[in-house]
Amino acid sequence: MNHSRAALSSAECRWAGTGLAAEIAQARHVLLLDPADNVLLALADLPAGLCIRDGDTTIALIDAVPLGNKLARMPIAAGSKVIKHGAPIGSATRAIAAGALVHLHNLASDYLATPATERAR
């Protein structure tokens, strides 16, 4: 607990700033908030099987990803940090494949339990 808190405290808390609108306008389905992120944000309700562009890579969605939800843009090992806004937002509770939905079933806070988490597992 202390270790993860220290790691987060030192992380710069960044959010999408100038140029966000241009990024959103260019992206069709997903948004990369920060180059360091290992997740993408769905800009619409995306069906499973859809192929999306991530730079030069194409990712096939394993799960349906609703608007505002996250999907893995690369494989994420169990226990490693999930990065969004360029900062860790928790740790993977199991291995996550590229194209999978990242949510309560495979991501947990390093600070505080999420009330819905137990129900979702």
Partner: protein, 398 residues
Amino acid sequence: MRGWLRADGRKGIRNIVIVAYLVECAHHVARAIAERHDAGDVHLIGFSGCYPNAYAQRMMERLCCHPNVGAVLLVSLGCESFDRDGLLDVVCASGRPAELLVIQQAGGTRSTIAQGRAWVEGALADLATVPTVPVLPADLVVGTICGGSDGTSGLTANPAIGRAFDRLIAAGAAGIFEETGELIGCEGHMAARAVTPELGAEIVATVEKAAGYYTTLGHGSFAVGNADGGLTTQEEKSMGAYAKSGGSPISGLLKPGDLPPEGGLYLLDIVPDGDVRFGFPNIADNAEIVELIASGAQIILFSTGRGSVVGSAISPVIKVCANPETYRRLPDDMDIDAGRIMEGRADLDTVGVEIEALVHAVAGGAQTCSEALGHQEFILTYKSFTPAGPACLPRRVA
């Protein structure tokens, strides 16, 4: 913009009568008095607890003496512990017309309602004759909160509010953001924005306090609806929530009821001090809105993705909707469509300017959606705080 100058030098953008119950047992009588009148002119607030609480007493003093309030009717049952005479003294000293009705001494329910309605009629007639004065951008205190957040909140509405905050503060206004439990993970960045290193250390300490408090409770401010909207963890919610503060230096750290001493950006610490005593810090968004208002906010900017519909007693609430689908679903409840950013139909700066313009319009008398719909939610619960230390408001000390 025009408003009402109060004896303490602050200016109201509304001139309402408050009917305040001092224990739940007086709630029905107070409501019967207030509901007789136009909802825009008479607002109902109160404290339900029978046992004394210094925080609740101070909050009621601040709320009854808020610049948007022109006159105050207190409704007491008679045997509750609330210091009704102390509150009445504070309101009278502020120069406002005030009256206290004690149900047990006024002949019971029917008689108290009749006396209360008559007093409010008179107060409204008096308030209508009070002259207005110009309200300048630097006279404004604006609070911000997010509720019913989803994955879009941190991308559109929150950073757009941040842009509006930057513009309002540059024009001399005070801006207040809050909920240190929703800033977990952002404390280092906030400390670097503080106007002194000592204030930065206070900000880090207050976020650590919040993390400890919520850990004791077993969970943070994260609600099931946040998860339904695509947010997974507290720190993910924090990253998005933090964007509401914009980019101004942080001038001070307030506790509920502390007033910003001048323009600038302030963080409001809503997590109680000491041991965990009264349960969850704020049981719903409206408790936080009430604390922002007690700290002087005349207008609240409320960011929502899932679609909160609430307003508040005393100060108008402007709803900034982050999610374009939510805006289409709840158009009557939403003032600003920040979801256009999501669809490439607007950018953050455009929406930020739009929010600032709406703040000025509402300060000039325009009704927000929640005002027009009659929303006047109000919650005040038990809490305990120790006073903020001198490092929390460096410029006032200097």
